[in-house]
Structures are given as structure tokens and as C-alpha cells.
Symmetry: C2
Subunit: 399 residues, 2 copies
């Protein structure tokens, strides 16, 4: 176990109808005038936005609204939000939506607290140390999809226009003050979006699980506990999208997959996320779908750096590879992982995702490793990343 | 899964020498003048108190000190601390020690912020709703034993004199602002104290695990993950008390066992704690030792309320009872649990603890159920508690 600092102060209000407490929670964390950020029409049509507005009004919280956040959230909307937040002098950012909405609210929170500056805090893989964010407005969340974990995380990812670069900012200052988690809000999600969310949260666990750090019994056990939950409950949700209890377990799992309770004290990987972000930036595909393509390819490429760890993953998460040698069990685990992704209806190859072999040079250019390596489990140079992109062309899985 | 609120804002600084950051952390959370609470001489002799003092001075934090906290912490020292905190106008409570020291600091934190009033917030099993604590000074912790979990919990337990009643206060306001966890500080603990700590943290997990709530896949998996960690790492510590990595995993497990990450969304039990507190109040025995006697007896008495849950415990935590019917597996699990406690050198009976059969009426009187029941897994009336105390007389374990 490595030394670590851990701080996860997000207040969780979990259960049916908890969005009715939004106003009370904004006030508890000091908000008097909020900028509410949301996405498309479904949050409006479902009545959710109206219920949140009523809660804010009841608590005496003033608010303005900015909708239109798209998946792979764009910098142009952040710019608009920063101008609005500054001119309207809001003191709180309220995100009503999923990861893209929350990440947009976090970016605006930075800009509004730093005289409009936010973009310089968003950097790529070529930067080893992220710039410290000196200030940010407090952020609260009403979550509508179990996926990104941004409701409890330190991170925000924005698609920087016009270059179309997906870049991230991070720091404890970006941890939301509160998150309202009502599993009922996730019941009407289309199966593909639900599946993308499951892949995303599972990937957040993998990025922490596949570590070079030894003697991490506790966080190994925690990672496997949450992974098994996601796999077991996913089958229930796919069979019955309105299974409240399965939705509830998965919603809470999505938060714990990314608030770093499963990553404390271990070197983490994050290569797959870096590799995937170039795909969703270029093709505007769903991040979870991109991860479903990239992660098994990454596993196939790196597993022999520590087959024992991959064998443990196989046995403890998917219940395969028992009694087999580690190298065989490792491959059995990757196959089981791919089968699970396929059972969710997710793409497994570039072709299924809509990505193109001839774009690989472009992906490597925008990834911009600049001679640095990517990932903590097995550091990857550009040629390794290229090999992983090429594995994504192959529909056969581990070889 | 039930609805829940969850808020665990304690900042964790984990690793070797992290006590050197105490001053920085007190300042971060607003402290300018601290009252440092500690126990006996070992923290002084080891040089820990000196290192913490140096850190406070370096950060420009003023401080005064109050030592002498005993296990099963006494109200008289709380009274002294409250008078000192008020007269010296401290704005921060710093606990350097284990559960008793932290609980004393929390009690003083209440008294100092409420004009000296603290005792009325400490109540027993006869009170169903704890009084809300209107204010408390911020508390920080430098932990020296992995056990009580008070470094991340909402609770404080004090032995109220002169009646010798062990009573508790609780509320999010008592969550420490920070906890310094340096596993090296726990390496010199005598084996019996180490064992008592292991029993205590395991009991905190059992109190959450044994629930009547259905569909709690995630927190079931989390409870089992932490339980397995405690059992597996305990053998390493018993074999080699200076195994840093085993001490590190157990120290972090002790915090996660009681910050409620493993209990969110489920009705909890807490009968064993209630039953044990009367033992440590009357005999001044170690809480963990009392739990080692009470918990298997409680399990033996209640398991048939849900043998499937006890069978799962047997199979997933102790790896016994595979392929057996649930009722048989349940007993196998209780036996394995007892064997584990015995392997740690803990008492298993009243006689081994130094408790007496003839005191059972006294224990029931001070427990003072007043017609209420105890516990969430299987509500216990006074006659049930009496039966459990009587099971503690028997050295044969489950029958």
C-alpha cells in the first residue's frame, strides 16, 4: 500500500423523490443563487427540472438555467455558462443530469471563481502535473444516469473546441458538495445508455484494480466487491429496466467506483481512459461504448505484465479460470469480460463503434504523448497505444 | 436497499510519519488553538506527543494538553476537559490516541460549544431518538490503534460516573475533520490490544452485515470485502507484529468498518454492542474482548431468524459451509468466527473475561431496555438478552 490522502466529502441523499431536497441541500452548502445546468429535453419532459425548480423556490434559493449540454460536453457551452454565472453573480452550480452535465457545471464553477479563466486548467496526457485550481464555486448534483461517477469525483472532462481535444481538470476542490441519487430517475434510460454507464463504472474500477502496487488486500477486495455488484445487478436491469433495487445498487456502485474509495493507497492505471477519450472526441461516440472497445484490447496487450493479477480478476469477479494456471485464467477473464460487455449490447470493435483504421495516426496525434508514457500498470509508449488501437480492429478478442 | 443519507467528510492522511502534518491539518480546518487529548504514558514515551507538538508549533497552532484518558473513558475527565476548553478558549479538539481518547475529545467538543452542556446528549438503549447536538468544536485525530473507528464515525461513548453507565452521543457533527493514520504507530501495541481492536472492527462490520434489509448486494459485498481483509491480515500481524503492510490494511479497514460506507442503505443491528457495553462498564474490560464473548453468543441465539444470511457469512468470509444446507453452514460460520477469535487470544466466555453469572441481573438493569427491544436483525426483549448473557457462560460455542 502506498501513502495516500483521501477526502470524499460529498453529502449523499439517496432514495425515491430525494430531488425534493435539492433546495435544502443547496442552502446547507451556502448557495443563495444557483445556475442550474442540464442537458436535453428528457429532464424537462419528465418533470424533473420542474420538481427541482419547485424545491429551490421552496427553500428560497434563486436560480437561473442553462440547458443544452451534449455528451462529450463542449467548451462553447462552458464559455456561455461562465459569462452567465459572472453576469448573474450566482454563488452555486447545480448540475441536473449525468457526467457531461456535471463536468460542464464543474468547468463553469472554475471559470466563475477565477474571473472567467478555466481553460488553462484542462490539460492532456502530455502534462504530468495538473495545474492547481485556486478556487471554484460549490457544485451540487441531481444525478440522472449511473455512469461517470462525476457526482463524487475530483474530475471534469471537456471537449475543447475548435481543436476537438478532450482534456481534463482535477482537484479536491471539484468534489461536489452534495449528490441527490434517486434510482427511479435512471429507470427510463434506453438500454444502450444504461449499458454505456455500466461499462464506464466498471472501467473506473479496472483503472484502479490493475495496479503495480503490492499488498493492497483491502482495496483489491473493495474493487472486486463493487465489480461483482455491477456485473450481477446489470443482468437484472437488462432483464427488467424498472427493477428499483438493481438500479439502486448500480447507482450507488457508480459513485463508489469513482470517489476513490476503491483506489486509495494504490498506483492507478488510466491508460484505457486516455486511449478512449481520443475516440469519443473524434467520433462523438459514447464514452462507455468506447471503453467497451478499448478495455479488452488494453487487457489483451498488457495482461502478461502481471498474469497473477488478471487471473485473480478472472476468478474473483467473473468466477472463471478456477484451477487453471494464471496465464490461462487471465485470458479466460478477459474473454468473460468481453462476453459481459457483449451481453449488454455494447460494441467490441472499431467497426461496431464506427471508428476507422485510417484514423489511428490522428488519434495518436491528438493523444499527444510527446514522448511520455501512459498508464500505471504497464507504462505504454505511443507504439504500444498504436498496437492497442490495432487490437480494437480485431473481433476475435484475446488470442 | 433503504433510503439513506451518507456523509463522511473526514480528511484522511495515511502513511509513515504523517503525524508531522498534524499542524497543517488543524489549520486547514480552522483551528488556531487546540486542546490535545491523549491517554497514558506510551504516547509520550514513544515520542509521538513530542512530534505532534512540534508539528503544531511549526504551523503556528497554539495548544494546551490534557492526558490521562483511560479505556472506557470516564465522564470526570470530560468535565475537566470542558472546563479547560472553555477557560482557555480553544477552538479545536485534537485527539492523539485510540477510541477512548477520540470519544473523550468529542464529548469535550460538545461541552465546549454548548456552554458546558454535554451529558444530556449521551443516552442509552431506552432512548429511541438521540437528542440533536446543536454545536461542537471541530475534532482532529492522530490515531494510535486500529479498532474503534471513532476517527471517522458519528459517535462517542462515555462511561458516566458515578453511576458507571456507558452511554453514547451521535450525529454527523461529531465526524472528525481529519484523521492521521500512520500504521507504524500501531506496530508496538501488545498482541492483546491488537486483537481487541480486530474484534472491535469486525464487530462493527457484523452489526451492519446482519440486517433484515433485502437487496443490498453492494453493501453486502463491501462488508464481506472488509471482513475478509481483517481476517486475512490478522494472521499476518499475529505472526509478525511489525508487518507494515498488514498493519496498513487493517488500519484503513478499521476506519471503513465504522464510517458507514459498509452500512449505507441497510437497517443495522447493534444489539451486540449494546449487550457488551454493560460488560465493559461493569468490569472495565476491553470493549473488543467483551465483543469476542458476546458476538458468537448473539449469533448462536439469532441465526435462525435468517440462516441464509449466516450461511453466506460462513461461505464468503470464512470459506466454510460450502455445499452444506444453510442451517448447517450458519453454525459452521459461527464456529469459524469463534475459532478466529480464539486464534487471536481473545476470551470467549464470561469466565475468561472475568464476568460473573450472578451479575446478569445487574447487567440487565443498567442496560435498562424499559420494555423496548434491542437490535435490528432480530429485535431482542430483555429475556432474550438474558438468554444471550447465559450463552456466554458456556464454553462450547454453537450447539
Amino acid at each position: 500500500m502506498t501513502d495516500f490522502d483521501y477526502w470524499s466529502p460529498t453529502y449523499i441523499a439517496f432514495g425515491k423523490d430525494k430531488e425534493s431536497r435539492t433546495g435544502e441541500l443547496v442552502r446547507r452548502f451556502g448557495g443563495r443563487k444557483a445556475l442550474m445546468i442540464y442537458g436535453g429535453g428528457s429532464a424537462v419532459r419528465s418533470g424533473l427540472i420542474g420538481r427541482v425548480e419547485a424545491s429551490l423556490s421552496k427553500a428560497g434559493v434563486g436560480f437561473i438555467k442553462l440547458g443544452g449540454v451534449k455528451p462529450n460536453p463542449r467548451s462553447s457551452l462552458v464559455e456561455e455558462g461562465v459569462r452567465l454565472a459572472l453576469s448573474e453573480k450566482v454563488d452555486f452550480m447545480l448540475a441536473v443530469g449525468g457526467g457531461s452535465v456535471i463536468d460542464t457545471a464543474k468547468a463553469i464553477a472554475i471559470g466563475a471563481a477565477n474571473g472567467g479563466e478555466w481553460r488553462r486548467f484542462y490539460v492532456g496526457k502530455e502534462v504530468k502535473v495538473r495545474p492547481a485550481i485556486p478556487a471554484a464555486l460549490p457544485v451540487g448534483v441531481v444525478l440522472t444516469i449511473a455512469a461517470a461517477g462525476s457526482e463524487g469525483s475530483t474530475n471534469s472532462i471537456i471537449n475543447l473546441e475548435p481543436e476537438n481535444l478532450k482534456r481534463g481538470a482535477g482537484g479536491d476542490i471539484l468534489r461536489p458538495k452534495f449528490a441527490v441519487l434517486n434510482p427511479e430517475l435512471t429507470m427510463s434510460l434506453p438500454p444502450f445508455q444504461t449499458a454505456c454507464g455500466l461499462a464506464d463504472m466498471f472501467a473506473h474500477l479496472c483503472e484502479r484494480y490493475f495496479t503495480p502496487t503490492a499488498d493492497v488486500t483491502l482495496s483489491d477486495n473493495l474493487c472486486e466487491a463493487v465489480m461483482r455488484t455491477v456485473v450481477d445487478e446489470s443482468a437484472k436491469i437488462m432483464a427488467n429496466p424498472t427493477d428499483y433495487q438493481a438500479r439502486a445498487n448500480v447507482m450507488w456502485a457508480g459513485t463508489l467506483a469513482h470517489n476513490d474509495i476503491c483506489g486509495a493507497g494504490r498506483v492507478q492505471d488510466w491508460a484505457s481512459h486516455g486511449i478512449e477519450h481520443e475516440l469519443s472526441a473524434l467520433y462523438d461516440c459514447a464514452h462507455g461504448a468506447g471503453l467497451a472497445v478499448v478495455m479488452p484490447a488494453w487487457m489483451t496487450y498488457v495482461h502478461d505484465a502481471n498474469d497473477a493479477r488478471f487471473a485473480r480478476f478472472a476468478r474473483n469477479v467473473f468466477g472463471v479460470g478456477q484451477g487453471e494456471p494464471d496465464a490461462a485464467a487471465a485470458l479466460a477473464g478477459i474473454r468473460a469480460f468481453r462476453r459481459w460487455l457483449k451481453s449488454l449490447g455494447l460494441p467490441l470493435t472499431f467497426a461496431e463503434l464506427g471508428a476507422k483504421e485510417e484514423d489511428i495516426p490522428t488519434l495518436l496525434r491528438t493523444l499527444n504523448l510527446s514522448g511520455n508514457t501512459l498508464g500505471g500498470f504497464k507504462p505504454l509508449a505511443e507504439k504500444d497505444v498504436e498496437a492497442i488501437y490495432r487490437l480494437c480492429l480485431n473481433s476475435d478478442g484475446p488470442y
